[in-house]
Every structure is written in C-alpha cells, then in structure tokens.
Assembly symmetry: C2
Homo-oligomer: 213 residues x 2
C-alpha cells in the first residue's frame, strides 16, 4: 500500500506539474489529485521541490539509461543517431507529462538541484553530439554546424510531447521512424534507416518504461 500511494502521489505531481506548471500547482491541488489530505501528502514526500527534483532526476536517468542501452555496441553513426531519435521520440510520446516537466520546469529548481539535472542532461546530449560528430567524420552526415544541428534535432523531437496522442492516426512505430527519417535527411545522410536498430529501440523502451510498443 505504502509504495502504491507514494507512486500515486508521484503520478499526480507529474500530471499537474506538466499541465499547470510547478508554481501553478498548489499543495492542495496535489492532495486532491492524489486523493489524500494535504497533511498526508507529507508522509510520502519531502518538500514540494523535493518532489520535483525526484521526478526530474528519475525521468532523466531513465532516458539516459535507455539511450545508453539502445546504442550500446552500435558503432555505425547512422544506427546510433537513428536509435537516439527513435528512443527520444518514443519516450516523449509515451511519457509526455514526465518529459514536459523535465523540459519546461528547470527554471523552478533552486541552484543546487539544478546542477544535478543539468549534469544528467549534458551527459544525455553528449550521446547525440558524439553520434553526429562521428557521422560527420565518417562522411555519412553533412552539416557545417554540428552543435546547432544537434540542438535543432533534439528540440524537434521533444516537441512530440506537446501534441502526440495515441488515439491519433499515427502508431508509435510510424512516429518514431518518421522522425528518424527527418533527422537523417536534415543531416544529408544518403543511407537508409537502420530498421534493426529501431526494432531494438522498441524493445529497450518496453523494458525501461514497462509498456507495450
């Protein structure tokens, strides 16, 4: 029960932080969503900010782990970048609330906590930067501004969390391969998608987030 309630509080917080923002969400909103009194809330969490920090760190950690797992052993930059894009898009489509909190509420963190979050984020973006730089070196990607292109692609993929609906016309599979296609094209890559890598992503995703893909 206790573990379950703790998870319910977390999910209530993710939902409300994502839709109303951290500062726009009151302790009483949180309590109502989690079906608890505001006093009981504090049996399962520290301060409101502790809750935000935990959500951000866990979400980012999961994403980073998944990305490392999905690209482990892949030496081909095309496969690596395709995997990173697919994974990022799937994560944002499956967990839109979590990812929107991570992407939009960094400004609500106090300095100490922000440092940890930024560190995780940097490690994650490093994976993208390496894949792109390796591809440029290998001559399969072409871009005059690798860093700018990386920022552009990551942002493009993150946008999925703002609009994707599983009841819409696109399956997760179609979504992921469409974005992977867009990314490879933007990098002027002439090689086709690595379909096996995408399949591998699907398995990593269903393992890490425990959902069928």
């Amino acid at each position: 029960m206790a573990v379950n309630t703790r998870e319910r509080v977390r999910q209530a917080a993710v939902k409300l932080f994502a839709t109303k923002g951290f500062h726009g969400t009151g302790i009483r909103d949180l309590a109502q969503e989690a079906e608890l009194s505001s006093a009981s809330l504090y049996h399962y969490m520290g301060t409101k900010e502790d809750l935000l920090v935990a959500i951000m760190n866990e979400s980012l950690r999961r994403l980073l782990d998944a990305a490392e797992q999905a690209t482990a052993g892949l030496t081909d930059p095309v496969s690596r970048l395709g995997s990173l894009v697919a994974l990022h898009v799937l994560a944002h489509a499956i967990q839109p609330d979590d990812t929107r909190v991570v992407d939009n509420e960094v400004h609500a963190l106090t300095a100490g906590a922000r440092a940890g979050v930024v560190e995780l984020r940097d490690a994650y973006e490093r994976l993208w930067a390496d894949a792109i730089e390796d591809g440029v070196t290998a001559g399969v990607f072409h871009t005059g501004q690798p860093s700018v292109t990386r920022l552009a692609l990551v942002e493009m993929c993150s946008g999925v969390a703002r609009w994707y609906s599983p009841s819409g016309p696109l399956t997760l599979d179609q979504l992921a391969s469409h974005y992977a296609e867009l990314a490879l094209r933007a990098l002027a890559c002439e090689r086709p998608l690595d379909v096996a890598a995408l399949q591998n992503c699907r398995e990593v995703v269903s393992g890490v987030w425990r959902v069928p893909v």
Copy 2:
C-alpha cells in the same frame, strides 16, 4: 514619460515571465524590476493576467504580421517555407524572452484569453501548413505526414529561443540560413535556398522589430 514607464513595466514582465514563469513571478518582483512600488504598477496595467495576455497577443500578432508580409506575393512553396523558417528563427533569436513566454506560458491563461491566443497561433501555423502542402502537391517537397512534419519543423525552430546568443559564433544570418537548409532537407527538397527570400526576411524583421539584422 507615462508611455515610457508603461513600456518599462512590459519589458520587466517579459523578462521575468520568461525566466521564472508567470506563476513564479510575484507582483513585488515585477515592481522591483520595473523600479516602481507594487501599488504604482497598477497605474500602468490591469491584473497580472491582463499583462500576460497583452504580451502574448502583441508578440503573436507581430509574428503573424511579419510572416504574412514576408510571404506576400511569393508563389513558390520553397521560397515561402524558407521565408517562414528564417523569419521564425530570427524572431526567436532576437526576442527570446517574448517568444518563450508565448511558447511556454499558455497554460497560465484562463479559458477566455487562451482562445484568442490559440486563434492567432492557428492562423500562423496555417501559413506553414499551406506552404508545405503546396510544396508536396507541386512535387518539390516529399513527406508522408505533412502535419507531423510541420509540427516538427516549427518546434525545431522555436528551440532557438532557448540557446541562441548574439555573442556566440553564429551571426543571425548564418543561423537563419542554416535552419532554412535543415528544413528544406527534412522535406527532401532538391532545390537550393531562395537567397533573395532570405534577404527579404531580413528587411521585414528589421522593420517589424526595429532592430538591425
């Protein structure tokens, strides 16, 4: 004087709403930034939300006007999309605070005000949708999911507001043409950038936002 002070309040609000969020910004923060007492603030504005609504509507209206102006008379879809991308990127690079408020604080609006903002936003995205659909029909763009591609591209360009610095290595010109290049590539367009259209964008931008480009 009065007009000047009113503008100072507006700029203080844009800065704080962009960095700390609408709900994260207090009336007293606003007053301090604008160098007024919190009481005097109300001589120049209605409620705090009125201020947010005004900022959003003005910013969006300016962007929409600029986009219509930049694409007016252009029949070629490649030129139109190139212009839209360049304009969007320039606006986000020049006015990062304004655009971040528009992009990230919609959730803070109450239903009535939100409707107006969404309407403006829809009209703006319609320009993008038309350019892309026309290009697909004309056979110069290739994408199986025009709507998804549009969302991806807009989001990609909006990200500029999160990181661009005028003191960085890229000029506004380089930034705009790099993004236009990325967009055309993502649409599998084989035609080159319309450099004249980009030049036109520069002029529209310096007119609408009154800055040298």
